[in-house]
């Protein structure tokens, strides 16, 4: 699975995810990626893309959970990411990337590794594989 989230100069947020699915998946099995609110979600506060064990990402409506937590609890992006990855999902389930309306980014996984990269207009930059 691959994904990207961005905030542009006009303050618009968008999220995109694309996948080949799961090795050896059964005929007709659909994963989290095309389920809006699970593997992919964006509103005017935050944009989120997920990767990992699709069944768990779907059962927790994960991308929307991060956005809702941020909106209703009025928390920071990182606090919402920590809540989703550390409290809602179980170890080994999934990883997420997100960008908020202020241009903050957050990338976190509880699977041990996630190929990831991020940068912004102030020159902050992060590229990584393992946690």
């Amino acid at each position: 699975t691959v994904g990207a989230v961005a905030r542009d100069k006009d303050g618009n947020l968008a999220a995109a995810t694309s996948t080949g699915g799961m090795t050896n998946k059964r005929y007709g099995r659909v994963g989290d990626v095309p389920i809006i609110g699970s593997g992919t979600y964006a509103n005017d506060l935050v944009a989120v893309s997920a990767t990992g064990w699709g069944e768990k990402i779907m059962l927790n409506v994960s991308a929307h959970t991060l956005a809702a937590y941020m909106e209703y609890k009025e928390t920071s992006l990182q606090q919402s990411m920590d809540y989703l990855v550390d409290e809602v999902l179980e170890p080994g389930d999934a990883g997420f990337i997100a960008v908020d309306k202020y241009g903050n980014f957050s990338m976190k996984t509880n699977t041990g590794s996630m190929f990831r990269a991020a940068t912004d207009s102030e020159g902050n930059k992060e590229i990584g594989i393992w946690e």
């Binding site: 699975t1 691959v2 994904g3 990207a4 989230v5 961005a6 905030r7 542009d8 100069k9 618009n12 947020l13 968008a14 999220a15 995109a16 995810t17 694309s18 996948t19 080949g20 699915g21 090795t23 050896n24 059964r26 005929y27 007709g28 099995r29 659909v30 994963g31 989290d32 990626v33 095309p34 389920i35 992919t40 979600y41 964006a42 005017d44 944009a47 893309s49 990767t51 990992g52 064990w53 699709g54 990337i97 960008v99 241009g103 980014f105 990338m107 996984t109 699977t111 041990g112 590794s113 996630m114 190929f115 990831r116 990269a117 991020a118 940068t119 912004d120 207009s121 594989i129 393992w130």
Partner: protein
Amino acid sequence: KEWAIALHGGAGYVSKDMPEDRKQAYMESLEEALAIGSDILANGGSALDAIERTVNYLEDNELFNAGKGAVFTSEGKNELDAAIMDGSTLNAGAITGVTTVKNPISLARKVMTESKHVFFATDGAETFADQVDVERVDPSYFYTERRYQSLQRAQEQEKEESSNLLPETNEEKAWKYG
């Protein structure tokens, strides 16, 4: 901040003793994907264009499980899914189970901008692709020997593993990641 972008190439269980040349290949690919999206944003491009082009690059890079380099289903096929969502309008487009669309995220964006629906599946998504301007390929385009070998190993493992459905070890878990 004026703009920001983040991308991923999949989460899972990747051993830390990955060969150095392979690790280098992944790091260079992540750098290149990041440069594509950040250049678009720095030049005033839209978030939608930045994420579509970034994901297109990752779909075309066979290191990643999307587009070329996708994993195989139990029937030995490559069935691709994608979704895109515009935070400023809460509009979205999603597709599942396509086999002839070179860049699935571009088709998902067409669903968002050129249809009144949000989600198209399998044959319906293929029919919609016939009606819009997206690049089509023969399903064999997505084949990579590495992923096909993975399918073989997964099916061998399936024969051996105990009846319980939940994977236990990290190695067993590794198969479940998209």
